[in-house]
Assembly symmetry: C2
Homo-oligomer: 157 residues x 2
């Protein structure tokens, strides 16, 4: 209920891109869509936002495709999720304008702080800490490790 599939699909897309990032040519979106079993025409919209955020770069035309915009170790999940879903806030009325100021919609009467602000601040801290502290490189490595499991299961348990 927190994030939509935009974040899910986008992250899986980025992980797949990171795994294919062997310095070779760009990867066509169609092959990623097939590998992840996701609708191609929907991914097009998502990858557009990732490109606007500079997280991926594209080359058009035949034999074109996408690459990572920068090394996977310099891409945080906060950047990925925010580029797809917009700013991460626990509540609609909870926005940061400029420097960390937070305000609720019903705070129209000046500086009377509503009690929920304390809670939302903590929740947002927990979320952003998890998102900013996880890099794409980490997830790529995690996926690489998991991909070898078919061999393990073949050996039986």
């Amino acid at each position: 209920m927190l994030f939509s599939t935009k974040a899910e699909y986008g992250i899986r897309l980025m992980v797949a891109l990171g795994r294919a990032d062997d310095g070779g040519g760009p990867v066509a979106l169609a092959s990623l869509a097939e590998a992840e079993a996701l609708p191609l025409s929907y991914l097009e919209h998502l990858v557009a936002k990732l490109r606007e955020a500079g997280l991926v770069s594209s080359t058009r035309g035949a034999h074109g495709g996408y690459r990572l915009g920068r090394p996977s170790g310099e891409i945080t999940m906060q950047q990925v999720v925010e580029s797809l879903e917009g700013p991460i806030t626990p509540m609609d009325c909870f926005e940061q304008n400029g420097q960390g100021r937070v305000l609720c919609s019903h705070e129209h009467d000046a500086d009377r702080a509503c009690a929920t602000k304390l809670l939302w601040t903590r929740v947002q801290g927990g979320i952003t800490r998890a998102l900013a502290g996880t890099t794409l490189a980490e997830l790529v490595e995690f996926a690489e490790r998991g991909e070898r499991r078919p061999l393990k299961t073949a050996v039986a348990r």
Copy 2:
């Protein structure tokens, strides 16, 4: 974008109830609605869920109203939010069945872990840690500090 106003309104309702919990009579929902400037008929639906969860108790009839179901120090925000919004998951495909097992919808091919699972686990940890670590008593105190305007109970007139 994380929680809806159900959580927001519900928490403010609980805080208002906690502030009025001076051992006197129950508090009518109408007075809470007016104090918080929230629609009464909408709060009725929310307080119903809080009652089912045992977080508030009600007395019907004239001069009736609501009280806290137990001391504010024993009510965590996780309980409040979950009773209103359902189980807290960062992603729809992310559910805990029974003992901490998590699974994604696209994990149909056995135990191949998807890369996002690592991230969602961290995010959920951050959220639940913030929610479970914040008690109603804490928010009530926070509210009292900001503004000490007592709320009348039914019997007090």
